[in-house]
Amino acid sequence: MTIQDDETLQMYLEESLEHLADIENDFLAIEENGANIDEDLVNKVYRAAHSIKGGAGFMGLNNIKELTHEMENILGKIRAGEMVPTPDIVNVLLDASDQLKALMNDVLNSNDVDISIHVKALQEVLAGRTPPAEEAPTTETTASAAAETTDSPVAAEGKTVEVETPDGHSILTPSAEALAEAHADGKCVYLVHLDMAADITAQNRSLAELLTEMDQTGSILASSVTLPPIATIDAQWSCGGDTLALLFATILKPGDINVLFGINPANILQLTPNQQLLTLEGAPAGGEPTMAAATESVEDTSAATSAASAVPETASEPVPEEVRQPEPTIPESAMATPQKNMSGTKPVMAEQETSLRVHVSLLDQLMTLAGELVLSRNQLLQSMTSDDHRASEIAGQRIDLITSELQEAIMLTRMQSIGNVFNKFPRVVRDLARSLGKKVELTLEGKDVELDKTIIEAIGDPLTHLVRNAVDHGIESPETRRKNRKPEVGQIYLKAYHEAGQVNIEIADDGKGLDGELIAQKAIEKGLITEDQAKVLSDKDQVNLIFLPGFSTAEKVTDVSGRGVGMDVVKTNLDKLGGLIDIESEAGKGSTIRIKLPLTLAIIPCQVVYTGGERYAIPQVNLEELLRIPADQVRDRIERVGDAEVVRLRGDLLPLVKLADIIGVKPLYHDPKTNTYRPDRRQSITDARETKTALFTDENETVPATDVEPASAEVNPSETAAERRFRAASALNIVVVSTGTMKYGLVVDELHDSEEIVVKPLGRDLKKCRGYAGATIMGDGRVALILDVSNLARMAGLTSVESSIKARELQAAESILRQKSDRQSLLIFRSAEEEQFAAPLNLVERIEKIKASDIEEVGGKRVMQYRGGSLPLFSIDEAAMVKPLAPSDNLLVIVFIVAGREVGLLAIGPVDAMETGLDVDGTTLKQTGIMGSAIINDHTTLLIDMYEIVQTLNPEWFEEQSLPQEEGVGSYSILFAEDSNFFRNQVKGSMEEEGYNVIEAEDGAEAWDLLQQNGDEIGLVVTDIEMPNMNGFDLTRRIKGHPAFGHLPVIALTTLAGEEDVARGKEVGIDDYQIKLDREKLLKSIYEHLQAVMA
């Protein structure tokens, strides 16, 4: 071999491998184009093959040269249009390029490999004899078989692992699976090298005896000669050679094994799970001192390393020095040998990239930053020696800045395009589809999306799994597809894109999709969920069950659903990367799997929380939002369903989990008076929110005598429960986290900042604590644990299944509740200290904090400058008989829109927004500007009528506003159904004021009767939604379905128009939605609809 030198060879290899990577996809493209040849593409491949050939000739790599030469010939023919690239031809080419890759990976032995099969196949293709299609798989197997004999790392990747004895005589090829299994079972694997003369004959034993013994204590995974079944071996049997190498798996530890066998300990080597050979003392096998003569050892080592090491000639030179030193523990030899052994015996590693391409501009940027860092350091040192605090501060800030820039730049160097992973899929899909007889087209999108190197490496397997699944189980056979009226060619889309600082990967197919019912059935059978749970699952939830751990075991699921093989494994792998996975499927139409991945793993932004005296970090990826429920609202917003607590968040119910409970620490609350932390004894979140007596009995009864907590209630009787519950310290801090499949609220003691943290692994003693994803070091040098929110949910016994059941239960309970009274969101505020007011929240535009001095009195009216204009200001006492506005410096302005203008209502705090079931008394305290009263938080609260207030104070605004009573509009009556007296009177009043005639009904049924009696008069229906007997939806449905009334416009009045409600309303025919107390809009809508009716 005329290998020039290392570097040239290395460069050649890198370049050639790059060419090869491209070639594969190009071949596929050529195949796709068929007779319609893209000359540029073929040229490109041709050139690639040509440059590989040229280099190979120069390096003396004859096999590579020969192979590429043949490929080149075929490509030449294709280019000239003399040959049509059929799939079979491309197959041969692909096989050849696989072989080429294998040769490249073991370039030094490449000349000794038998490549005749490929050459022959290529030549046949060239001669025009296309290999029959059936041959395709066989060529492939022979290809790998051929590669195997040459220690090719690529070939071994599949099923077998190669273990070479230190003397290089024999190579054992146990199946990788058996090996991994043995290791996983906690067994030790030994490479036993028997010397027939010394170990058997000299000790007066028979080989059969020894083998039987071995068979009893473990299992023989592989041997250098083929062994007959152990039981049949008779005493005279000999292996037919001087030596016998065995790979033996047993539970015996290195210390004990030789007690059993009595073989020269130097001949037993332990094979570690990472394929490293160790002597029984645990020293790396390479530095083996007791083996024969030193010179022989030299050969051993180099032979063992030659497999993948590029330069054995040079490598062997330093070895004698190592070997001459007899101590196996000498650091250098210990350091050097395992590395070589690794590369020699761990073939899979060879595929991993050892070098990275970085853009020069990025490198320049790094250099500049490094330069700046050095300068700043100099500044810092200087300022420190001169004791110049100011200067060191500046230098510190600069270093801070540069460090973060440097961090970003270095992260960028690690970014690689996802194309590296994606590019192998066309081949995977093609080969698999071919072997399954399916037609599949793969579309790749977003190959340029970049991800951290570690993620790119780790995501390959799960993605391959998903893509293979899509081909294997997702896409149907062409016949089935035809039957189902689908195009014969199945589509698989693989798409990557950035979104919200994460990378999203989508794998979509138009295959048969997943059958949720069957999956749910399976999950019940496996005892993963109960039947009751299964009943309430949505389709999507059902499909997502396949991610439950323990769900899928290969065949069983395939039988039923055809999907979901190892999906939980995929999910686990993605979890490790901090990724999320979600699946959507429609039976018969296909499925879409979405994966969300963080851009990088090393440094992640986290929310820091505080619980039980320690800080914990929650990765921002999992963070949805932070929620702080003020102490006095806890009781309203936290509800109990069974023994679980939930919080109502924008209409959704969120299960709550107390962090302190799951990890078993005592929650603390901060006492601002003493600035200390004290144990929080609330058993459930809503405790201490009961009446005063309940709280006191609670404190006296549940505090055990041993509790060292200073009895605050006794010592400080003035600190009443009422005071405490309004204190900020008792507010509830909730971190809303999502794990992909579910969302829940984690209750913590305190919320701290969000920080960028560096993830550090936890020691092995803590591996069993599943609640943590790792640890990090905070700014003060202390350690904080990183929480694993999905495992926490599991530990809390929370599954998405369960939470959805809860949500349903609660919704049922809620709808009963809602029937009783309407719920209305109110803004609560005060004008004078003693009087509490409320206004419908949906009428409020904004709330501004102002100083009393901001108010100007101009022209007898109060205004303030606001957004470049003058905002008229009112206070309630101007219009209504209430206490005057408190003379406070800090005022609030509640901005409403009345009569098309913004007006401000002066008020004082505290303000609060709450949703409450309104039981409004519209008579007792009714007066101008006040609609009525209600009891809110144990206070009689006056509901203001902003419209009336403004109208009283500025009647002239309404003159031009009031809707002209056109001829005819007033001649119709309005049918108004509303169950609440208060609202009925309110709304009726405002409609009558406008001159409409109103017919009122207390519920839907009554309205329906009235409509039938007075059908001709009625021109429009206004109805509440939630009513007893017949609700608004049903009423509307009847009206719209009736031939005589179908034309009537229906306006629905709600307190809260949720999107779902609106959609449902539209479905039954509701023409418009209006908010109950927004009288202007309602009147406008009535007017418009009436006009439409008239027209």
Binding site: D256, E614, I663, G763, L766, G781, V783
Partner: protein, 152 residues
């Protein structure tokens, strides 16, 4: 065990770092000791095995601190002024052993090491490689790897 005696690093002279675990005087090969410190700013790990005191930031590395007494089946070590963490490197990661107090470094000869009795100061004999007699006291030589490996 026989093979323990036979292994290469347990012959000749050895320097033992000695320390007290509760009342028991123990020792370990000083070459196994990475460092000894008195950092007690630990972060407790809820749900960790009982013998884990917490985790510690040792110059950027997270080190699990193990209450050696607890791990050996004794009472929980009370953290006092004299307590120290002995940081050892075990299977590629740092582990800190919290001991009651540190004692001298003793020169020992493996030839004079005797097999351990069933019990040394309340600690089971199987955790020891042997005992070594100094002029005044008995030092139990801890088999650190074994102690750390075993689930307790």
């Amino acid at each position: 065990m026989e093979q323990d005696k036979g292994t290469a690093n347990e012959t000749g002279m050895v320097e033992l770092a000695t320390f007290y675990v509760g009342e028991a005087l123990c020792g370990m090969d000083i070459l196994k000791v990475q460092e000894i410190n008195k950092l007690m700013e630990m972060t407790s790990v809820p749900q960790a095995p009982e013998y884990v005191m917490g985790i510690l930031n040792l110059r950027g590395q997270i080190v699990t601190i193990i209450d050696l007494g607890k791990k050996l089946g004794l009472e929980t070590t009370e953290v006092t002024e004299s307590c120290r963490n002995i940081i050892v490197n075990s299977k590629g990661e740092y582990v800190g052993l919290l001991v009651t107090r540190i004692s001298d470094v003793v020169d020992a000869n493996w030839d004079k090491v005797e097999p351990p009795p069933a019990n040394i100061g309340g600690v089971q004999g199987r955790y020891f490689k042997g005992v070594f007699k100094t002029d005044s006291r008995l030092v139990g030589i801890l088999d650190v790897e074994k102690v750390l490996l075993e689930e307790s």
